[in-house]
Symmetry: C2
Subunit: 320 residues, 2 copies
Protein backbone atom coordinates (compact mmCIF):
# COMPACT_ATOMS: atom_id res chain seq x y z
CA UNK A 1 0.00 0.00 0.00
CA UNK A 2 1.34 3.41 -0.85
CA UNK A 3 1.73 6.27 1.57
CA UNK A 4 -1.15 8.07 -0.11
CA UNK A 5 -3.69 5.30 0.38
CA UNK A 6 -2.74 4.32 3.91
CA UNK A 7 -5.49 5.11 6.36
CA UNK A 8 -5.68 4.80 10.10
CA UNK A 9 -8.57 4.91 12.53
CA UNK A 10 -6.74 6.31 15.54
CA UNK A 11 -3.80 8.66 15.97
CA UNK A 12 -1.45 7.57 18.72
CA UNK A 13 0.62 10.62 19.63
CA UNK A 14 3.97 9.75 21.19
CA UNK A 15 4.90 12.12 24.02
CA UNK A 16 7.89 10.27 25.45
CA UNK A 17 10.59 12.62 24.16
CA UNK A 18 8.81 15.47 25.99
CA UNK A 19 6.66 14.12 28.82
CA UNK A 20 8.88 11.13 29.43
CA UNK A 21 12.26 12.80 29.33
CA UNK A 22 11.19 15.83 31.38
CA UNK A 23 10.24 13.51 34.23
CA UNK A 24 13.41 11.46 34.52
CA UNK A 25 16.74 12.50 35.99
CA UNK A 26 18.84 11.24 33.09
CA UNK A 27 19.58 13.61 30.21
CA UNK A 28 19.32 11.87 26.86
CA UNK A 29 21.94 12.93 24.33
CA UNK A 30 20.68 14.68 21.19
CA UNK A 31 21.75 11.85 18.89
CA UNK A 32 19.76 9.33 20.89
CA UNK A 33 16.68 11.55 20.74
CA UNK A 34 17.07 11.71 16.97
CA UNK A 35 17.48 7.94 16.72
CA UNK A 36 14.41 7.40 18.93
CA UNK A 37 12.21 9.76 16.95
CA UNK A 38 13.39 8.41 13.59
CA UNK A 39 12.83 4.80 14.66
CA UNK A 40 9.39 5.48 16.03
CA UNK A 41 8.39 7.34 12.89
CA UNK A 42 9.70 4.40 10.87
CA UNK A 43 7.49 2.11 12.96
CA UNK A 44 4.51 4.13 11.78
CA UNK A 45 4.04 6.79 14.46
CA UNK A 46 2.92 9.97 12.70
CA UNK A 47 2.85 12.49 15.57
CA UNK A 48 5.53 12.94 18.21
CA UNK A 49 5.80 15.59 20.90
CA UNK A 50 9.54 16.04 20.69
CA UNK A 51 10.20 18.60 23.40
CA UNK A 52 9.20 21.69 25.31
CA UNK A 53 10.40 25.27 24.91
CA UNK A 54 11.11 26.05 28.53
CA UNK A 55 14.22 27.64 30.05
CA UNK A 56 17.15 25.19 30.15
CA UNK A 57 17.63 25.87 33.86
CA UNK A 58 14.11 24.54 34.50
CA UNK A 59 14.32 21.45 32.30
CA UNK A 60 17.89 20.78 31.18
CA UNK A 61 16.66 17.47 29.74
CA UNK A 62 14.87 19.43 27.00
CA UNK A 63 17.42 22.20 26.39
CA UNK A 64 18.04 20.95 22.84
CA UNK A 65 14.40 21.07 21.76
CA UNK A 66 15.08 23.47 18.84
CA UNK A 67 17.62 21.06 17.39
CA UNK A 68 15.29 18.12 17.93
CA UNK A 69 12.49 19.95 16.12
CA UNK A 70 14.82 20.81 13.23
CA UNK A 71 15.74 17.14 12.88
CA UNK A 72 12.20 15.81 13.28
CA UNK A 73 10.95 18.17 10.55
CA UNK A 74 13.12 16.30 8.05
CA UNK A 75 11.10 13.09 8.57
CA UNK A 76 8.42 12.86 5.86
CA UNK A 77 4.85 12.67 7.12
CA UNK A 78 5.69 13.31 10.76
CA UNK A 79 3.76 15.94 12.72
CA UNK A 80 6.28 17.59 15.04
CA UNK A 81 4.60 18.74 18.24
CA UNK A 82 5.99 20.74 21.16
CA UNK A 83 4.78 22.06 24.48
CA UNK A 84 5.18 25.74 25.36
CA UNK A 85 4.51 27.43 28.69
CA UNK A 86 4.07 30.96 27.30
CA UNK A 87 4.45 33.36 24.36
CA UNK A 88 8.25 33.30 24.54
CA UNK A 89 8.22 29.52 24.22
CA UNK A 90 5.74 29.72 21.36
CA UNK A 91 7.98 32.18 19.52
CA UNK A 92 10.86 29.74 19.84
CA UNK A 93 8.61 26.91 18.65
CA UNK A 94 7.52 28.92 15.63
CA UNK A 95 11.12 29.85 14.83
CA UNK A 96 12.13 26.19 15.04
CA UNK A 97 9.27 25.18 12.74
CA UNK A 98 7.09 23.05 15.00
CA UNK A 99 3.89 21.82 13.31
CA UNK A 100 1.83 21.78 16.47
CA UNK A 101 2.07 23.89 19.62
CA UNK A 102 0.35 23.00 22.87
CA UNK A 103 -0.14 25.51 25.66
CA UNK A 104 -1.26 23.97 28.95
CA UNK A 105 -3.79 25.80 31.09
CA UNK A 106 -4.33 24.23 34.47
CA UNK A 107 -8.00 24.44 35.35
CA UNK A 108 -6.89 24.48 38.98
CA UNK A 109 -5.72 28.03 39.54
CA UNK A 110 -3.76 26.91 42.61
CA UNK A 111 -1.86 24.49 40.39
CA UNK A 112 -1.46 27.12 37.66
CA UNK A 113 0.12 29.52 40.14
CA UNK A 114 2.34 26.82 41.62
CA UNK A 115 3.42 25.39 38.28
CA UNK A 116 3.53 28.35 35.86
CA UNK A 117 3.26 31.20 38.39
CA UNK A 118 0.35 32.56 36.39
CA UNK A 119 -3.34 33.19 37.02
CA UNK A 120 -5.95 31.90 34.59
CA UNK A 121 -6.34 35.40 33.16
CA UNK A 122 -2.62 35.62 32.53
CA UNK A 123 -2.49 32.26 30.74
CA UNK A 124 -5.48 33.21 28.58
CA UNK A 125 -3.68 36.45 27.69
CA UNK A 126 -0.59 34.43 26.68
CA UNK A 127 -2.88 32.25 24.55
CA UNK A 128 -4.23 35.32 22.76
CA UNK A 129 -0.72 36.61 22.10
CA UNK A 130 0.39 33.23 20.76
CA UNK A 131 -2.65 33.08 18.49
CA UNK A 132 -1.81 36.56 17.22
CA UNK A 133 1.80 35.57 16.54
CA UNK A 134 0.57 32.55 14.59
CA UNK A 135 -1.97 34.61 12.66
CA UNK A 136 0.82 36.95 11.57
CA UNK A 137 2.54 34.06 9.77
CA UNK A 138 1.86 33.08 6.14
CA UNK A 139 -0.99 30.57 6.13
CA UNK A 140 1.24 27.68 5.07
CA UNK A 141 3.60 28.27 7.98
CA UNK A 142 1.03 28.42 10.76
CA UNK A 143 1.33 25.66 13.37
CA UNK A 144 -1.75 24.01 14.80
CA UNK A 145 -2.44 25.62 18.18
CA UNK A 146 -3.89 23.53 20.98
CA UNK A 147 -4.89 24.87 24.36
CA UNK A 148 -4.79 21.96 26.77
CA UNK A 149 -6.86 21.86 29.95
CA UNK A 150 -4.55 20.25 32.50
CA UNK A 151 -5.68 18.87 35.88
CA UNK A 152 -9.11 18.71 34.21
CA UNK A 153 -9.99 15.51 36.11
CA UNK A 154 -8.95 16.97 39.44
CA UNK A 155 -5.95 18.49 41.13
CA UNK A 156 -3.72 17.20 43.91
CA UNK A 157 -3.99 20.64 45.54
CA UNK A 158 -7.64 21.54 44.96
CA UNK A 159 -9.35 18.19 44.36
CA UNK A 160 -12.27 18.30 41.93
CA UNK A 161 -12.67 21.41 39.77
CA UNK A 162 -16.20 22.78 39.23
CA UNK A 163 -17.70 22.08 35.81
CA UNK A 164 -18.48 25.76 35.30
CA UNK A 165 -14.82 26.66 35.73
CA UNK A 166 -13.73 24.00 33.22
CA UNK A 167 -16.33 25.20 30.73
CA UNK A 168 -15.36 28.85 31.16
CA UNK A 169 -11.67 28.12 30.60
CA UNK A 170 -12.33 25.98 27.51
CA UNK A 171 -14.41 28.78 26.09
CA UNK A 172 -11.69 31.26 27.02
CA UNK A 173 -9.00 29.31 25.18
CA UNK A 174 -11.11 29.11 22.02
CA UNK A 175 -11.94 32.82 22.29
CA UNK A 176 -8.22 33.52 22.62
CA UNK A 177 -7.67 31.84 19.28
CA UNK A 178 -6.82 28.20 19.93
CA UNK A 179 -7.66 25.74 17.17
CA UNK A 180 -8.45 22.90 19.53
CA UNK A 181 -8.94 22.06 23.21
CA UNK A 182 -6.91 19.25 24.70
CA UNK A 183 -7.85 17.38 27.85
CA UNK A 184 -5.14 16.24 30.22
CA UNK A 185 -5.38 13.95 33.23
CA UNK A 186 -2.26 15.43 34.80
CA UNK A 187 -2.88 13.80 38.15
CA UNK A 188 -4.12 10.38 37.09
CA UNK A 189 -7.50 11.06 38.70
CA UNK A 190 -9.69 10.17 35.72
CA UNK A 191 -12.09 7.26 35.53
CA UNK A 192 -14.22 6.17 32.57
CA UNK A 193 -17.33 7.99 33.79
CA UNK A 194 -15.37 11.19 34.35
CA UNK A 195 -13.78 10.90 30.90
CA UNK A 196 -17.19 10.76 29.29
CA UNK A 197 -18.45 13.62 31.43
CA UNK A 198 -15.55 15.98 30.73
CA UNK A 199 -15.59 15.29 26.99
CA UNK A 200 -19.30 16.03 26.80
CA UNK A 201 -18.95 19.09 29.01
CA UNK A 202 -16.17 20.68 26.97
CA UNK A 203 -17.66 19.71 23.62
CA UNK A 204 -20.90 21.27 24.76
CA UNK A 205 -19.10 24.58 25.05
CA UNK A 206 -16.62 24.55 22.16
CA UNK A 207 -18.15 22.03 19.76
CA UNK A 208 -17.26 18.42 19.08
CA UNK A 209 -14.83 19.30 16.30
CA UNK A 210 -12.60 21.22 18.71
CA UNK A 211 -12.12 18.25 21.08
CA UNK A 212 -10.54 15.25 19.36
CA UNK A 213 -7.75 14.12 21.67
CA UNK A 214 -6.88 13.34 25.24
CA UNK A 215 -3.76 12.93 27.36
CA UNK A 216 -4.36 10.24 29.96
CA UNK A 217 -2.11 8.83 32.63
CA UNK A 218 -2.04 5.35 34.12
CA UNK A 219 -1.25 6.39 37.69
CA UNK A 220 -4.09 4.33 39.14
CA UNK A 221 -4.12 1.63 36.49
CA UNK A 222 -7.18 2.99 34.68
CA UNK A 223 -5.35 4.45 31.67
CA UNK A 224 -6.58 2.03 29.03
CA UNK A 225 -10.08 1.83 30.49
CA UNK A 226 -10.16 5.62 30.21
CA UNK A 227 -8.97 5.36 26.60
CA UNK A 228 -11.87 3.01 25.91
CA UNK A 229 -14.30 5.57 27.31
CA UNK A 230 -12.69 8.24 25.13
CA UNK A 231 -12.96 6.01 22.05
CA UNK A 232 -16.63 5.46 22.75
CA UNK A 233 -17.12 9.23 22.90
CA UNK A 234 -15.53 9.50 19.47
CA UNK A 235 -12.08 10.82 20.30
CA UNK A 236 -9.49 9.90 17.71
CA UNK A 237 -6.16 11.02 19.24
CA UNK A 238 -4.56 9.50 22.32
CA UNK A 239 -1.22 10.43 23.89
CA UNK A 240 1.13 7.78 25.22
CA UNK A 241 4.77 7.37 26.16
CA UNK A 242 7.06 4.59 24.94
CA UNK A 243 7.73 2.23 27.84
CA UNK A 244 5.55 4.48 30.01
CA UNK A 245 8.65 6.60 30.37
CA UNK A 246 8.15 9.47 32.72
CA UNK A 247 6.71 7.89 35.76
CA UNK A 248 6.97 4.62 37.59
CA UNK A 249 3.34 3.51 37.75
CA UNK A 250 3.94 1.97 41.16
CA UNK A 251 5.51 5.00 42.82
CA UNK A 252 3.37 7.47 44.75
CA UNK A 253 3.06 10.75 42.92
CA UNK A 254 4.37 9.33 39.67
CA UNK A 255 2.95 10.67 36.44
CA UNK A 256 2.48 7.12 35.17
CA UNK A 257 2.10 7.70 31.48
CA UNK A 258 0.11 5.27 29.37
CA UNK A 259 2.49 2.84 27.67
CA UNK A 260 2.48 3.37 23.90
CA UNK A 261 3.07 -0.31 23.20
CA UNK A 262 0.09 -1.39 25.34
CA UNK A 263 -2.17 1.29 23.85
CA UNK A 264 -1.29 0.33 20.28
CA UNK A 265 -1.89 -3.34 21.13
CA UNK A 266 -5.33 -2.61 22.57
CA UNK A 267 -6.39 -0.54 19.58
CA UNK A 268 -5.07 -3.00 17.01
CA UNK A 269 -6.67 -5.91 18.89
CA UNK A 270 -9.98 -4.05 18.78
CA UNK A 271 -9.71 -3.72 15.01
CA UNK A 272 -8.73 -0.05 15.09
CA UNK A 273 -5.74 0.60 12.88
CA UNK A 274 -3.02 2.90 14.14
CA UNK A 275 -0.62 2.53 11.23
CA UNK A 276 1.99 1.38 13.74
CA UNK A 277 3.91 -1.88 13.48
CA UNK A 278 4.04 -3.38 16.98
CA UNK A 279 7.24 -5.36 16.45
CA UNK A 280 9.08 -2.32 15.15
CA UNK A 281 7.65 -0.20 17.96
CA UNK A 282 8.88 -2.66 20.57
CA UNK A 283 12.33 -2.58 19.03
CA UNK A 284 12.53 1.18 19.67
CA UNK A 285 12.71 0.42 23.39
CA UNK A 286 16.28 -0.77 22.93
CA UNK A 287 17.34 2.67 21.69
CA UNK A 288 15.83 4.40 24.72
CA UNK A 289 17.16 1.89 27.24
CA UNK A 290 20.66 2.09 25.78
CA UNK A 291 20.65 5.90 25.96
CA UNK A 292 19.29 6.26 29.52
CA UNK A 293 20.09 2.93 31.16
CA UNK A 294 19.31 4.19 34.67
CA UNK A 295 15.62 4.67 33.87
CA UNK A 296 12.93 2.00 34.06
CA UNK A 297 10.73 1.19 31.12
CA UNK A 298 7.33 -0.43 31.58
CA UNK A 299 4.79 -2.20 29.48
CA UNK A 300 2.64 -5.30 29.83
CA UNK A 301 2.64 -6.28 26.15
CA UNK A 302 6.43 -6.00 25.75
CA UNK A 303 6.75 -8.38 28.73
CA UNK A 304 3.96 -10.82 27.85
CA UNK A 305 4.30 -10.83 24.07
CA UNK A 306 1.50 -10.92 21.52
CA UNK A 307 -1.26 -13.55 21.62
CA UNK A 308 -0.76 -16.60 19.43
CA UNK A 309 -2.09 -15.87 15.96
CA UNK A 310 -2.59 -12.17 16.69
CA UNK A 311 -3.50 -10.16 13.60
CA UNK A 312 -3.25 -6.39 14.06
CA UNK A 313 -5.74 -4.14 12.35
CA UNK A 314 -2.98 -2.23 10.61
CA UNK A 315 -2.09 -3.98 7.39
CA UNK A 316 1.41 -5.38 7.28
CA UNK A 317 1.97 -4.63 3.63
CA UNK A 318 2.24 -0.88 4.03
CA UNK A 319 5.39 0.85 2.93
CA UNK A 320 7.43 2.92 5.36
CA UNK B 1 -27.51 1.40 57.13
CA UNK B 2 -28.39 -2.09 58.20
CA UNK B 3 -27.20 -5.25 56.55
CA UNK B 4 -30.65 -5.83 55.17
CA UNK B 5 -30.90 -2.55 53.32
CA UNK B 6 -27.38 -2.44 51.96
CA UNK B 7 -27.35 -2.66 48.19
CA UNK B 8 -24.52 -2.85 45.72
CA UNK B 9 -24.34 -2.41 41.99
CA UNK B 10 -21.46 -4.74 41.26
CA UNK B 11 -20.22 -7.95 42.86
CA UNK B 12 -16.44 -8.10 43.09
CA UNK B 13 -15.56 -11.75 43.62
CA UNK B 14 -12.18 -12.25 45.30
CA UNK B 15 -10.27 -15.21 43.85
CA UNK B 16 -6.89 -14.65 45.51
CA UNK B 17 -7.11 -17.51 48.03
CA UNK B 18 -7.62 -19.89 45.08
CA UNK B 19 -6.26 -18.39 41.86
CA UNK B 20 -3.60 -16.38 43.63
CA UNK B 21 -2.29 -19.01 45.99
CA UNK B 22 -2.29 -21.80 43.43
CA UNK B 23 0.07 -19.78 41.26
CA UNK B 24 2.73 -18.92 43.81
CA UNK B 25 5.41 -21.18 45.25
CA UNK B 26 4.78 -20.21 48.87
CA UNK B 27 2.28 -22.23 50.88
CA UNK B 28 0.13 -20.00 53.06
CA UNK B 29 -0.66 -21.43 56.51
CA UNK B 30 -4.30 -22.18 57.24
CA UNK B 31 -4.53 -19.52 59.94
CA UNK B 32 -3.34 -16.84 57.55
CA UNK B 33 -5.92 -17.91 54.97
CA UNK B 34 -8.60 -17.59 57.62
CA UNK B 35 -7.37 -14.16 58.66
CA UNK B 36 -7.25 -13.02 55.02
CA UNK B 37 -10.76 -14.24 54.24
CA UNK B 38 -12.19 -12.82 57.47
CA UNK B 39 -10.57 -9.43 56.93
CA UNK B 40 -11.67 -9.19 53.33
CA UNK B 41 -15.22 -10.12 54.27
CA UNK B 42 -15.10 -7.47 56.99
CA UNK B 43 -14.02 -4.95 54.34
CA UNK B 44 -17.26 -5.70 52.52
CA UNK B 45 -16.33 -8.46 50.07
CA UNK B 46 -19.32 -10.81 49.83
CA UNK B 47 -17.98 -13.58 47.58
CA UNK B 48 -14.60 -15.28 47.89
CA UNK B 49 -13.25 -18.26 45.97
CA UNK B 50 -11.44 -19.84 48.88
CA UNK B 51 -9.81 -22.85 47.27
CA UNK B 52 -9.92 -25.72 44.85
CA UNK B 53 -10.67 -29.37 45.44
CA UNK B 54 -7.78 -30.91 43.57
CA UNK B 55 -5.38 -33.61 44.75
CA UNK B 56 -2.88 -32.28 47.28
CA UNK B 57 0.00 -33.64 45.24
CA UNK B 58 -1.06 -31.38 42.34
CA UNK B 59 -1.63 -28.20 44.36
CA UNK B 60 -0.24 -28.54 47.89
CA UNK B 61 -0.98 -24.83 48.37
CA UNK B 62 -4.70 -25.67 48.43
CA UNK B 63 -4.61 -28.98 50.33
CA UNK B 64 -6.54 -27.46 53.24
CA UNK B 65 -9.47 -26.26 51.13
CA UNK B 66 -12.06 -28.25 53.10
CA UNK B 67 -10.96 -26.59 56.34
CA UNK B 68 -10.93 -23.18 54.67
CA UNK B 69 -14.49 -23.72 53.41
CA UNK B 70 -15.64 -24.81 56.86
CA UNK B 71 -14.22 -21.62 58.36
CA UNK B 72 -15.48 -19.31 55.61
CA UNK B 73 -19.01 -20.69 56.01
CA UNK B 74 -19.09 -19.25 59.52
CA UNK B 75 -18.83 -15.68 58.16
CA UNK B 76 -22.34 -14.21 57.86
CA UNK B 77 -23.33 -13.08 54.38
CA UNK B 78 -20.28 -14.52 52.63
CA UNK B 79 -20.72 -16.65 49.54
CA UNK B 80 -18.06 -19.35 49.73
CA UNK B 81 -16.95 -20.40 46.25
CA UNK B 82 -14.59 -23.15 45.16
CA UNK B 83 -13.18 -24.53 41.95
CA UNK B 84 -13.43 -28.24 41.15
CA UNK B 85 -11.83 -30.14 38.27
CA UNK B 86 -14.26 -33.08 38.27
CA UNK B 87 -17.04 -35.00 40.05
CA UNK B 88 -14.73 -36.15 42.82
CA UNK B 89 -13.78 -32.54 43.58
CA UNK B 90 -17.43 -31.52 43.48
CA UNK B 91 -18.35 -34.25 45.94
CA UNK B 92 -15.69 -32.93 48.31
CA UNK B 93 -16.97 -29.39 47.79
CA UNK B 94 -20.53 -30.47 48.56
CA UNK B 95 -19.39 -32.35 51.65
CA UNK B 96 -17.50 -29.27 52.85
CA UNK B 97 -20.54 -27.07 52.29
CA UNK B 98 -19.38 -24.72 49.52
CA UNK B 99 -22.08 -22.29 48.37
CA UNK B 100 -20.83 -22.09 44.80
CA UNK B 101 -18.99 -24.64 42.69
CA UNK B 102 -17.22 -23.77 39.47
CA UNK B 103 -16.17 -26.40 36.95
CA UNK B 104 -13.82 -25.09 34.25
CA UNK B 105 -14.19 -26.34 30.70
CA UNK B 106 -11.42 -25.20 28.41
CA UNK B 107 -12.91 -24.38 25.02
CA UNK B 108 -9.54 -25.33 23.56
CA UNK B 109 -9.57 -29.12 23.54
CA UNK B 110 -5.77 -29.17 23.28
CA UNK B 111 -5.61 -27.16 26.49
CA UNK B 112 -8.30 -29.32 28.11
CA UNK B 113 -6.29 -32.44 27.38
CA UNK B 114 -3.04 -30.86 28.56
CA UNK B 115 -4.54 -29.36 31.70
CA UNK B 116 -7.23 -31.79 32.84
CA UNK B 117 -6.36 -34.75 30.58
CA UNK B 118 -9.97 -34.81 29.46
CA UNK B 119 -11.79 -34.31 26.17
CA UNK B 120 -14.70 -31.90 25.91
CA UNK B 121 -17.11 -34.84 25.97
CA UNK B 122 -15.54 -36.14 29.16
CA UNK B 123 -15.78 -32.74 30.91
CA UNK B 124 -19.41 -32.35 29.86
CA UNK B 125 -20.10 -35.81 31.28
CA UNK B 126 -18.48 -34.74 34.59
CA UNK B 127 -20.71 -31.66 34.54
CA UNK B 128 -23.79 -33.82 34.16
CA UNK B 129 -22.72 -36.04 37.04
CA UNK B 130 -22.04 -33.01 39.25
CA UNK B 131 -25.45 -31.57 38.39
CA UNK B 132 -27.03 -34.89 39.31
CA UNK B 133 -25.19 -34.97 42.63
CA UNK B 134 -26.42 -31.47 43.39
CA UNK B 135 -29.99 -32.30 42.35
CA UNK B 136 -29.96 -35.20 44.81
CA UNK B 137 -29.45 -32.76 47.70
CA UNK B 138 -32.26 -31.08 49.63
CA UNK B 139 -33.09 -27.80 47.85
CA UNK B 140 -31.71 -25.66 50.67
CA UNK B 141 -28.35 -27.41 50.52
CA UNK B 142 -27.75 -27.17 46.78
CA UNK B 143 -24.73 -25.10 45.80
CA UNK B 144 -24.85 -22.79 42.79
CA UNK B 145 -23.17 -24.60 39.90
CA UNK B 146 -21.20 -22.61 37.34
CA UNK B 147 -19.63 -24.06 34.24
CA UNK B 148 -16.81 -21.77 33.24
CA UNK B 149 -15.53 -21.51 29.69
CA UNK B 150 -11.78 -21.11 30.07
CA UNK B 151 -9.41 -19.98 27.29
CA UNK B 152 -12.58 -18.50 25.76
CA UNK B 153 -10.62 -15.52 24.39
CA UNK B 154 -7.95 -17.73 22.85
CA UNK B 155 -5.45 -20.35 23.85
CA UNK B 156 -1.67 -20.29 23.96
CA UNK B 157 -1.68 -23.67 22.22
CA UNK B 158 -4.48 -23.26 19.67
CA UNK B 159 -4.85 -19.50 19.28
CA UNK B 160 -8.38 -18.30 18.57
CA UNK B 161 -11.23 -20.75 19.16
CA UNK B 162 -14.07 -20.84 16.60
CA UNK B 163 -17.31 -19.16 17.71
CA UNK B 164 -19.29 -22.28 16.88
CA UNK B 165 -17.17 -24.35 19.25
CA UNK B 166 -17.62 -21.83 22.08
CA UNK B 167 -21.37 -21.73 21.48
CA UNK B 168 -21.65 -25.53 21.37
CA UNK B 169 -19.77 -25.93 24.66
CA UNK B 170 -21.79 -23.22 26.43
CA UNK B 171 -24.96 -24.99 25.31
CA UNK B 172 -23.49 -28.31 26.42
CA UNK B 173 -22.76 -27.06 29.93
CA UNK B 174 -26.28 -25.72 30.35
CA UNK B 175 -27.73 -28.96 28.97
CA UNK B 176 -25.61 -30.84 31.48
CA UNK B 177 -27.31 -28.91 34.26
CA UNK B 178 -25.15 -25.89 35.07
CA UNK B 179 -26.95 -22.89 36.56
CA UNK B 180 -24.69 -20.36 34.89
CA UNK B 181 -21.91 -19.99 32.32
CA UNK B 182 -18.72 -18.23 33.37
CA UNK B 183 -16.26 -16.68 30.93
CA UNK B 184 -12.56 -16.83 31.69
CA UNK B 185 -9.69 -15.06 29.94
CA UNK B 186 -7.22 -17.68 31.12
CA UNK B 187 -4.49 -16.48 28.78
CA UNK B 188 -4.90 -12.70 29.02
CA UNK B 189 -5.81 -12.54 25.32
CA UNK B 190 -9.04 -10.54 25.70
CA UNK B 191 -9.61 -7.03 24.42
CA UNK B 192 -12.73 -4.89 24.85
CA UNK B 193 -14.15 -5.78 21.44
CA UNK B 194 -13.61 -9.48 22.08
CA UNK B 195 -15.24 -9.19 25.52
CA UNK B 196 -18.36 -7.73 23.95
CA UNK B 197 -18.36 -10.34 21.20
CA UNK B 198 -17.99 -13.36 23.48
CA UNK B 199 -20.63 -12.12 25.93
CA UNK B 200 -23.13 -11.62 23.11
CA UNK B 201 -22.22 -14.92 21.51
CA UNK B 202 -22.69 -16.97 24.68
CA UNK B 203 -25.77 -15.10 25.80
CA UNK B 204 -27.24 -15.67 22.37
CA UNK B 205 -27.06 -19.39 23.06
CA UNK B 206 -27.85 -19.72 26.76
CA UNK B 207 -29.75 -16.50 27.51
CA UNK B 208 -28.61 -13.29 29.18
CA UNK B 209 -29.62 -14.45 32.64
CA UNK B 210 -27.14 -17.32 32.53
CA UNK B 211 -24.11 -15.09 31.85
CA UNK B 212 -23.56 -12.51 34.59
CA UNK B 213 -19.85 -12.68 35.44
CA UNK B 214 -16.40 -12.79 33.95
CA UNK B 215 -12.90 -13.74 35.04
CA UNK B 216 -10.42 -11.41 33.36
CA UNK B 217 -6.65 -11.21 33.59
CA UNK B 218 -4.37 -8.22 33.25
CA UNK B 219 -1.55 -10.01 31.44
CA UNK B 220 -1.39 -7.40 28.67
CA UNK B 221 -2.57 -4.44 30.74
CA UNK B 222 -6.12 -4.46 29.35
CA UNK B 223 -7.82 -5.95 32.42
CA UNK B 224 -9.76 -2.89 33.53
CA UNK B 225 -10.58 -1.81 29.98
CA UNK B 226 -12.04 -5.29 29.51
CA UNK B 227 -14.02 -4.87 32.73
CA UNK B 228 -15.46 -1.65 31.33
CA UNK B 229 -16.57 -3.47 28.20
CA UNK B 230 -18.15 -6.15 30.39
CA UNK B 231 -19.95 -3.51 32.47
CA UNK B 232 -21.33 -1.94 29.33
CA UNK B 233 -22.69 -5.34 28.28
CA UNK B 234 -24.47 -5.55 31.60
CA UNK B 235 -22.30 -8.01 33.51
CA UNK B 236 -22.51 -7.58 37.25
CA UNK B 237 -19.82 -9.92 38.65
CA UNK B 238 -16.08 -9.49 38.14
CA UNK B 239 -13.30 -11.66 39.54
CA UNK B 240 -10.11 -10.12 40.90
CA UNK B 241 -7.20 -11.05 43.15
CA UNK B 242 -5.94 -8.99 46.07
CA UNK B 243 -2.61 -7.45 45.11
CA UNK B 244 -2.92 -9.18 41.75
CA UNK B 245 -1.56 -12.22 43.54
CA UNK B 246 -1.01 -15.12 41.26
CA UNK B 247 1.01 -13.69 38.48
CA UNK B 248 3.60 -11.03 37.99
CA UNK B 249 2.02 -8.86 35.32
CA UNK B 250 5.45 -8.15 33.83
CA UNK B 251 6.60 -11.75 33.51
CA UNK B 252 6.01 -13.65 30.29
CA UNK B 253 3.41 -16.35 30.75
CA UNK B 254 2.16 -14.94 34.03
CA UNK B 255 -1.51 -15.20 34.79
CA UNK B 256 -1.59 -11.52 35.74
CA UNK B 257 -4.79 -11.33 37.70
CA UNK B 258 -6.74 -8.11 37.91
CA UNK B 259 -5.90 -6.33 41.16
CA UNK B 260 -8.95 -6.23 43.45
CA UNK B 261 -7.95 -2.85 44.91
CA UNK B 262 -7.69 -1.24 41.45
CA UNK B 263 -10.95 -2.79 40.26
CA UNK B 264 -12.86 -1.62 43.34
CA UNK B 265 -11.38 1.86 42.91
CA UNK B 266 -12.48 2.06 39.27
CA UNK B 267 -16.01 0.91 40.04
CA UNK B 268 -16.42 3.19 43.05
CA UNK B 269 -15.00 6.14 41.10
CA UNK B 270 -17.55 5.49 38.37
CA UNK B 271 -20.35 5.67 40.89
CA UNK B 272 -20.91 1.91 41.02
CA UNK B 273 -21.10 0.68 44.59
CA UNK B 274 -19.33 -2.53 45.49
CA UNK B 275 -20.06 -2.49 49.20
CA UNK B 276 -16.31 -2.64 49.78
CA UNK B 277 -14.38 -0.15 51.93
CA UNK B 278 -11.16 0.65 50.04
CA UNK B 279 -9.13 1.57 53.10
CA UNK B 280 -10.03 -1.64 54.86
CA UNK B 281 -9.40 -3.62 51.67
CA UNK B 282 -5.91 -2.11 51.35
CA UNK B 283 -5.16 -3.04 54.94
CA UNK B 284 -5.76 -6.72 54.09
CA UNK B 285 -2.58 -6.64 51.98
CA UNK B 286 -0.55 -6.60 55.17
CA UNK B 287 -1.98 -9.96 56.23
CA UNK B 288 -1.09 -11.56 52.92
CA UNK B 289 2.39 -10.02 52.72
CA UNK B 290 3.20 -11.10 56.27
CA UNK B 291 2.12 -14.69 55.56
CA UNK B 292 3.92 -15.14 52.23
CA UNK B 293 6.69 -12.54 52.30
CA UNK B 294 8.51 -14.01 49.30
CA UNK B 295 5.67 -13.16 46.93
CA UNK B 296 5.15 -9.85 45.17
CA UNK B 297 1.92 -7.93 45.47
CA UNK B 298 0.85 -5.40 42.88
CA UNK B 299 -1.62 -2.60 42.54
CA UNK B 300 -1.60 0.93 41.17
CA UNK B 301 -4.06 2.40 43.64
CA UNK B 302 -2.30 1.01 46.73
CA UNK B 303 0.90 2.67 45.46
CA UNK B 304 -0.58 5.98 44.28
CA UNK B 305 -3.26 6.45 46.92
CA UNK B 306 -6.75 7.82 46.42
CA UNK B 307 -7.42 11.13 44.66
CA UNK B 308 -7.82 14.16 46.89
CA UNK B 309 -11.45 14.45 47.97
CA UNK B 310 -12.35 11.04 46.57
CA UNK B 311 -15.85 9.91 47.52
CA UNK B 312 -16.58 6.24 46.84
CA UNK B 313 -20.00 5.20 45.68
CA UNK B 314 -20.34 2.80 48.56
CA UNK B 315 -21.73 4.60 51.56
CA UNK B 316 -19.42 4.77 54.50
CA UNK B 317 -22.10 4.42 57.13
CA UNK B 318 -22.85 0.81 56.45
CA UNK B 319 -22.50 -1.65 59.26
CA UNK B 320 -20.25 -4.65 58.97
Amino acid sequence: MSEATRTTDILVSEVGPRDGLQSVASIMPLDAKKAWIAAEAAAGVTEIEVGSFVPARVLPQLADTAEVVAFARTIPGLTVAVLVPNLKGAQAAIAAGAHKITLPLSVSETHSLANLRRTHAQVLEEAAQIAAAIAALPVADRPHFEGSLSTVFGCTLEGAIPDAQVARLAEGLMAAGCDEIGLSDTTGYADPRAVRHIIRLVRGVVGAGAVTGIHLHNTRGLGLANVLAGLEEGLTTFDASLGGLGGCPFAPGASGNIVTEDLVFMLEAMGLSTGIDLDRLNAVRDIVMAAIPDEDMYGFVPAAGLPLGFIPATRKDRTV
